[in-house]
């Protein structure tokens, strides 16, 4: 029985002693925090002072809860923070005023921060009174200029949402966004995700896929369909978009002609070529061309442009052509 009581008693005694020591440590940290406060640490070292005060409170709470380990950890954070707060505040805290005709010169001189009359920005307001010690400003504004504008964009920092980056006032002092970084702001960029040149509204210059002649639109790339069907393949969308734009801009009437090679039954080929011409017309109408500007005709194998006896010739014969019939206006 006695054997078991002794270690427990030892532990309790050690815990009490440890708790007492921690409380003493907390008191000394509290004293340092008070010194920091007196030196105006709330303005000079706000983060350090807050860290010291908060951790001091947490340490005391942990001690009340009987958690010495945690209390020790909090004091370990509070003590250096308080020390830093004092150190940082000594340079910028409230200055002591020296009284020349002090009545009792024998009395011990209180420890106080040294008085400095430095005026770093030379504006006539000593740094101790200067709210802007690095920028000249009149005394009536406590040494600060009327407005600060660090990025020099003409939007004063108090209303500038990007005080470090120049930007127009229409965008609250921030530069206009430019996602593709091509120097053309997204608001003016027709291709905001693709770098391009300013003379092409931020879009890259592309080689044109069509040439508009007097009587026809020449294609540099043939329109592709699914085999034996009238479904346009995606790789032909660009050329069709250009055709649509050209027809819209030129205000002409265009005949869309579908042609096939001579493989298979003639009637089926005519039907297929008509369906393909119709599909192209439908696409162009979807792209904003007026339906009355377009006619679709399927000729089947009637009008070959190459020999159907070779594979290359048959490939050339399977095609869509665009004939310009007349101007609509």
């Amino acid at each position: 029985m006695t054997r078991s009581i002794v270690p427990v008693a030892c532990c309790l005694a050690a815990a009490c002693a440890s708790g007492s020591a921690l409380r003493q440590r907390a008191d000394s940290v509290a004293a340092e925090v008070k010194v920091a406060r007196d030196l105006n640490a709330e303005a000079c070292a706000p983060r350090e002072l807050a860290t010291a005060e908060a951790n001091l409170r947490f340490a005391r709470l942990a001690l009340d809860q009987g958690d010495s380990r945690r209390a020790d950890a909090h004091l370990g954070t509070a003590a250096p923070a308080a020390h830093d707060a004092v150190a940082r505040s000594r340079d910028c805290g409230k200055q002591a005023v020296a009284i020349k005709d002090k009545p009792e010169p024998q009395a011990p001189v209180p420890v106080a921060p040294s008085v400095t009359a430095k005026d770093g920005d030379g504006d006539g307001v000593p740094d101790v009174d200067d709210l802007c010690p690095d920028v000249p400003g009149p005394p009536e504004r406590r040494g600060c200029p009327l407005f600060t504008d660090r990025d020099g964009d003409g939007v004063s920092d108090d209303i500038d949402r990007c005080p470090e980056l120049p930007g127009p006032k229409e965008n609250f002092g921030c530069p206009w966004p430019d996602r593709d970084g091509d120097k053309v702001a997204d608001k003016d960029d027709r291709c905001p995700d693709e770098p391009g040149s300013p003379d092409n509204q931020g879009c890259p210059h592309r080689e044109r896929l069509i040439v508009v002649r007097r009587d026809r639109i020449e294609l540099k790339q043939q329109i592709h369909f699914q085999p034996n069907r009238a479904k346009i393949l995606r790789d032909s969308y660009d050329v069709l978009d250009e055709i649509a734009q050209a027809v819209r801009d030129a205000s002409v009437t265009v005949r869309i002609e579908g042609h096939t090679d001579n493989v298979g039954k003639r009637k089926e080929n005519v039907t297929l070529s008509q369906a393909r011409a119709d599909a192209v017309k439908e696409y162009l109408v979807r792209e904003g061309v007026e339906a009355k500007q377009l006619t679709a005709v399927g000729y089947g194998p009637k009008r070959p442009i190459a020999s159907n006896s070779t594979r290359a010739g048959r490939t050339l014969n399977r095609r869509v052509e665009f004939r310009i019939e007349e101007a609509t206006n």
């Binding site: 709330e42 706000p46 983060r47 807050a50 860290t51 951790n55 406590r142 600060c144 009327l146 407005f147």
Partner: protein
């Protein structure tokens, strides 16, 4: 009767976590609002205190010490509100104050 007693006991026990969570949420919201008003620039002391107290409140809540957690969260809320108020005041104050803050 026993069932009713059990329900009442459960409700009473449940109040601690619920109330604490509510105060922590309030403090969290207040701190977010203060930060949005640039409290880190204009009221760093209050914002730091609110931040630390809020973190500690969450820690205490994690250890199921709801009374302590609630007290810490209430303090965090108070500091966050003070930070928000100070930041708003200083934002609307004359340029001299703003300039002073930007130099810190």
């Amino acid at each position: 009767m026993a069932l009713r007693g059990t329900i009442v006991a459960c409700l009473l026990l449940g109040c601690g976590p619920v109330t604490t969570t509510s105060v922590i949420d309030d403090a969290d919201g207040a701190l977010l609002r203060a930060r949005a008003a640039n409290a880190d620039g204009y009221a760093l002391y209050e914002a730091t205190l609110a931040d630390l107290y809020l973190a500690k409140a969450r820690e205490e809540q994690g250890h199921a010490r709801y009374a302590d957690a609630q007290a810490l969260a209430a303090d965090a809320l108070r500091f966050a509100q003070a930070a928000g108020r100070k930041a708003s005041e200083r934002r609307t104050a004359p340029a001299a104050d703003d300039a002073a803050v930007s130099k810190r």
